[in-house]
């Protein structure tokens, strides 16, 4: 068998094992080990296998637990509730004010949390009961939280961008900067979607009470904590104060101090945030070890080289290849979860994308946006499961129907990124030269 044939067989084996409920990290690791051995012999395969976990505890990854800790603390403290009130102060009085505020609060929270699930979980708890109390349709309420939650991985800091940066050997600051404008744009598009939905179905969204300017200002002033943490966590990286790990360390410490000083973080909440951070980090590390072994195998197969040759042979235009890859990602998003999609596909597709002349940072942002779609579409829409876990009385069908209109916004953003790569690449160019 040629290495390429072994590679194709390996990918098939990975699909079979994952569908047989083998934990993803173990499935990737086992396929990677056996495949590597089939090409290069057991001795070198076992050497790579035994060394990978040690190689994975590298400095670049230390940013993950610290950013996760900051988001976890912010989610448990009153910061997220204040953020929702502040966002509401902007939209109060309009029809659809609360779902718009939900999107705004999710965007704000994304600036201190790198996780889509944490963002969706936080605002399911805070925003959905409030919207139900005011008589909003459940489709609009849950759709706004599910869609808003996806901003968590696009607006920096972002766990998934750190993982992409590691897999693609790209810079974390460049990716964070590249995600900011598309993230803000997507938030604005989501607000527009809420506006359009409330125009078409006014019965879904009652007009809310107006707020006096003084009340608005008071609510908005509570955003200082968020502004402080964002300045430390993200601003500090570009100001040249910190490396990403230092920024994450200082910002997570600041989150704990600010929340505790405001009396918003009980000791039990602090311990729970620590536990959650450790479990998320361990889960990520387990999958990273498996994915790394798998990636070594993919490199051995030289499958990407063969695919590039095939594209040349077919005479496909570069944009057509990107569109095919995007369609493939959307399909993959239906069956795999986001970290896994990035880790499984980057070794295969990134060499193709760069061979076609595209920028790996731009491609990373495009991937994150496409992966976001997977988070809110059936059957493996994790954001939806997070909402459902907290609100079991709302049927899954209702949540999926609520999400439909928001997918228009994602589609517009994907098209905009394809046509105007500068949307992602302008800011990193400006900040990092």
């Amino acid at each position: 068998m040629t290495p390429q044939e072994i590679g194709a067989l390996g990918i098939l084996a990975l699909v079979v094992l994952t569908f047989l409920r083998v934990p993803l990290g173990a499935a990737m690791g086992l396929v990677g080990l056996v495949g590597y051995a089939a090409i290069d012999g057991w001795e070198s395969a076992f050497f790579v296998f035994g060394d990978t976990p040690y190689a994975m505890s590298r400095y670049a990854l230390s940013v993950l637990p610290l950013f996760i800790l900051m988001g976890s603390v912010a989610s448990r403290s009153g910061m997220s509730r204040e953020l929702f009130a502040a966002a509401n102060a902007i939209f109060a009085g309009r029809r659809g004010a609360l779902p718009m505020a939900t999107i705004g609060a999710c965007a704000g929270f994304s600036a201190i949390s790198g996780s889509s699930l944490a963002t969706a979980a936080t605002f399911t708890r805070i925003a959905v009961p409030e919207m139900r109390r005011h008589g909003y349709d459940e489709r609009l309420a849950t759709g706004a939280v599910a869609a808003g939650g996806t901003l968590g991985i696009l607006i920096p800091p972002s766990v998934i961008m750190v993982i992409y940066a590691l897999a693609a050997e790209e810079s974390v600051p460049a990716l964070f900067a590249a995600g900011l404008i598309p993230g803000i744009l997507l938030a604005l598009l989501f607000v527009l979607v809420v506006w359009a939905v409330t125009r078409i179905r006014p019965d879904w969204a009652p007009a809310g009470p107006r707020m006096r300017p003084r009340e608005r200002l008071r609510a908005a002033a509570a955003m200082w904590k968020l502004a402080l943490l964002f300045t430390l966590a993200v601003g500090g990286i570009y100001a040249g104060w910190f490396s990403p790990t230092e920024a994450a360390g200082v910002a997570s410490f600041a989150a704990i101090v600010v929340a505790a000083a405001a009396g918003q973080l009980r000791f039990s909440d602090f311990l729970a945030a620590l536990g959650e951070t450790l479990r998320t980090t361990a889960m990520l590390m387990f999958i990273l070890v498996g994915a790394w072994i798998f990636a070594y195998f993919v490199v051995q197969t030289r499958l990407p080289v063969a695919l590039v040759a095939l594209i040349d042979l077919l005479g496909l235009a570069p944009w057509a290849v990107i569109v095919i890859i995007l369609i493939f990602y959307i399909l993959l998003g239906c069956v795999l979860e986001s970290v896994a999609i990035i880790l499984v596909t980057v070794p295969v597709f990134l060499p193709i994308v760069t061979a076609l002349g595209y920028d790996p940072v731009w491609y990373g942002i495009l991937m994150v946006v496409v992966v976001e779609v997977g988070l809110i579409t059936p059957p493996v829409g994790l954001n939806i499961f997070v909402i459902r876990a907290q609100l079991p009385d709302i049927p899954l069908g209702v949540i999926f129907r609520g999400i439909g209109p928001f997918l228009v916004a994602n589609t517009i953003l994907i098209a905009a990124l394809l046509i105007f790569p500068e949307l992602a690449l302008w800011l990193p160019g400006l900040l990092l030269g």
């Binding site: 047989l20 409920r21 050497f47 296998f49 620590l274 450790l278 361990a282």
Partner: protein
């Protein structure tokens, strides 16, 4: 078996929590000393890598015991519950083979670190320290997955409520 694995996993998670706080504080103090006194801590980079080995690996066994590792459960919608019980067993068995092989070959690499006296560049920290932390997480994971496998086997055979 399950209770032994659980006790060991919880102990490791508590140690990991201390290392996580240490990692956070190390960054805070380093930045503070650098900014305030132009005196950064020497070798922070290497200490952070050592701490990360603990933070990222020591909680893996607890994640196994909480069924927290990412598994694609699409097939559950197609198969009857009786078949899923057996399929879980297959999944756990594969995970057990993976972590057992991983622990064994990590041990091999760790022996090399000792044999060659491998140390970090700046602080001369023996690499075996980092290796021992990561290895402890994977080794206790073998115990945790074995406990889950035995639990699932009892369930599959109908000997457990």
């Amino acid at each position: 078996m399950h209770s032994v694995a659980l006790a060991a996993a919880r102990l490791l998670s508590r140690v990991a929590a201390l290392f996580l706080l240490a990692m956070m504080m190390l960054n805070v103090v380093d930045v503070g000393l650098r900014t305030g006194f132009n005196a950064p801590i020497f070798g922070t980079y290497e200490i952070v890598e050592l701490l990360l080995a603990a933070v990222a690996f020591l909680a893996i066994p607890e994640v196994f015991l909480r069924d927290g590792h990412i598994t694609i459960e699409l097939i559950d919608q197609i198969l009857p519950p009786g078949a899923i019980v057996w399929l879980r067993l297959v999944g756990t068995l594969a995970a057990m083979i993976f972590v057992a092989l991983l622990a064994w070959h990590m041990l091999g690499s760790a022996r090399d670190f000792i044999a060659f006296d491998d140390v970090t560049v700046d602080l001369q920290i023996p690499l075996i320290w980092k290796a021992a932390l990561a290895l402890a997480g994977v080794a206790v994971s073998v115990l945790a997955v074995l406990a889950i496998f035995l639990r699932d086997l009892r369930r599959a055979l109908g000997r457990d409520a």
